[in-house]
């Protein structure tokens, strides 16, 4: 474990915890953006340039902005009344740990875990050119299906927005 990984991991974990526990929703959204940046840093450190930069472009540039806008347009970022932790919080943590332990036990004792690990992939070989080549040859069908899905979603959103205007 290198020093840069330790720094990135600490950044991701601390900002993720902050995103969950802070009272102000906008603060939470900003902390979530920091988490996204930290994850992008991890990808870059592994040599996956395209994934890392796309992570920043999509998650920090678009998703975080969308979350922030949604918060502003629906209600104020001010924390509402009420306690932060419910009375059964401790029990919840206990149940979560128990589920994690059971799942971990099952996975480590399954046949998949006993299979020999595939050779470590050298991330620095995953150039953007290769990435594009694979997308355009081997993975062309999933790519097209995704594109179609996104176009349909966008057209749907536009139609919903249009109808509201007509009834006015």
């Amino acid at each position: 474990m290198s020093a840069s990984f330790a720094i990135l991991a600490a950044l991701v974990v601390v900002s993720a915890i902050a995103a969950m526990t802070l009272r102000n929703l906008v603060h939470c959204a900003l902390c979530l953006a920091v988490t996204f940046i930290g994850l992008a840093g991890t990808y870059l450190q592994l040599g996956a340039q395209f994934v890392g930069l796309a992570q920043v472009l999509v998650y920090v540039g678009a998703v975080a902005i969308l979350i922030v806008f949604a918060i502003l347009l629906t209600r104020s970022g001010e924390p509402g009344p009420g306690r932060q932790f419910s009375a059964t919080a401790l029990m919840g943590v206990g149940i979560a740990l128990a589920v994690f332990a059971v799942l971990g036990k099952v996975i480590t004792s399954s046949a998949v875990a006993k299979r020999p690990a595939p050779p470590m992939f050298d991330g620095s070989k995953a150039t953007v050119a290769k990435f594009g080549e694979r997308l355009m040859t081997d993975y062309i069908l999933p790519l097209e299906v995704l594109a179609l899905l996104l176009t349909a979603a966008m057209i749907g959103a536009v139609i919903i927005a249009l109808r509201e205007k007509e009834t006015k």
Partner: protein, 399 residues
């Protein structure tokens, strides 16, 4: 002599590294090398910013038929330097001014926003090839890095506007984000043609593909020319410059998202904005205007980095000229221009670039590609101007 000047910054760096390698431990050397690559960026571009503030005020003054700043020179002497001491005075003023934070402001976010504006702007320079062998970070996906870093600015603008607890600041931030999100699309799409043509996302290789005189530059082809102009318009909007300065329209919303900032934090916003503009100009030079290449092969005796900064200077003067000439757009005009004109036209330039790639060179190719761009341009601009929203303004209550 030419060779010496050409690689002077690189040789200087290696010389310093050689000296350092005698004192520093092995593991510190990569960090020292990185710091040596970053330092010139941190010195040169803020210096250009400082000079630009004076030049902009002087040129705007000339455009408006007044002298502009011409008093401040060297203190305690009568030397005026034509007013070029102004930026030092401004810097000192910004540093010693009181820093006022609104009582209700979100203190932490309010403090972090100016920093979050400057850092992405500076990061963007790391992939710009300033001269031959002079790219601080020669990434395989350099153009993608540039846009990824640029998209982080939107969040910092929101941080500034939201944390100030001021309606003008929030309005400015909303306008800024709406504008940046809308114009980011044509900005990125206008560069796709270049990336398709060179087959790489690396800024260094894109510059290398344009070697050998201005007729090899991407802006010299019909599709490249159109894409370059679309890029220029989108870049002006991304940098919040007139005629797209709605986020900080001083006659409408005071100063927009940095209304509640004073002293050096205000100066940081100013710096971040100009650094963003220079970085965007640098990307335009890299993608369309041959980067650090000389316009004529015979002129290559002049060092490559001088060509880069000359081109940057032309860009800066162009933006100042625009600011002195054009009025501000209205919000609906802004959005209509982005979505109904820029986006379709950038998509068409991408197709035109593809046609250019696969047709035989010659007059027919030139004519076909030009027609492919000019006809939709005329149709779209006609539709935009006859469409509701552009033209004479109608008032609901004021008539």
């Amino acid at each position: 002599m030419t060779e010496l000047l050409e690689q002077f910054p690189v040789t200087l760096k290696h010389a310093i590294l050689d000296v350092l390698s005698k004192f520093l431990p092995e593991w510190l050397l990569p960090i020292a090398s990185a710091i040596l690559s970053i330092t010139p960026i941190l010195i040169v571009f803020p210096t250009i910013f400082a000079l630009t503030t004076v030049v902009e005020r002087k040129v705007l003054g000339r455009i408006q038929n007044r002298p502009g700043p011409n008093r401040v020179g060297i203190p305690l002497t009568n030397i005026r330097l034509a007013g070029f001491g102004q930026f030092i005075a401004d810097g000192i003023k910004a540093l010693i001014k009181e820093d006022i934070v609104p009582r209700n402001a979100d203190k932490v976010v309010h403090f972090l926003a100016p920093i979050a504006v400057v850092i992405p702007a500076l990061l963007a320079y790391s992939v710009l090839p300033i001269g031959k062998n002079m790219t601080a970070l020669d990434l395989d996906a350099g153009v993608l890095f540039f846009f990824a870093v640029g998209s982080a600015t939107e969040l910092s603008v929101f941080m500034a506007g939201w944390s100030s607890r001021n309606k003008y600041a929030l309005l400015g931030a909303m306008r800024a984000i709406a504008q940046m999100v809308s114009y980011e699309l044509p900005l990125v799409l206008s560069t796709v043609g270049v990336i398709m043509m060179t087959g790489t996302l690396s800024t260094t290789q894109i510059v290398e593909a344009q070697a050998g005189g201005f007729w090899h530059w991407h802006a010299a082809t019909p599709w490249g020319f159109a894409a370059f102009f679309l890029f220029l318009v989108a870049a002006t909007a991304e940098a919040n410059r007139t005629p797209f300065d709605l986020p900080e329209a001083e006659s409408e919303i005071i100063a927009g998202y940095f209304t509640e900032y004073s002293g050096f934090k205000f100066a940081l916003f100013f710096l971040g904005e100009y650094l963003g503009l220079f970085a965007m100009s640098g990307l335009g030079i890299t993608l369309f205007l041959g980067g650090w290449h000389a316009p004529l092969p015979a002129l290559e005796v002049v060092p490559s980095w001088i060509w880069f900064f000359l081109k940057l200077g032309v860009f800066i003067m162009f933006f100042i000229w625009l600011r002195g000439t054009l009025p501000r757009l209205r919000m609906d005009q802004l959005m209509n221009l982005a979505w109904k004109f820029m986006v379709p036209l950038t998509l068409i330039t991408i197709v035109a670039a593809g046609v250019w790639r696969f047709m035989d060179p010659g007059f027919t190719r030139c004519l076909t590609v030009t027609a492919m761009i000019v006809v939709p341009y005329l149709l779209l601009s006609n539709a935009l101007f006859t469409a509701r929203g552009v033209g004479k303004r109608t008032y609901r209550y004021a008539d």
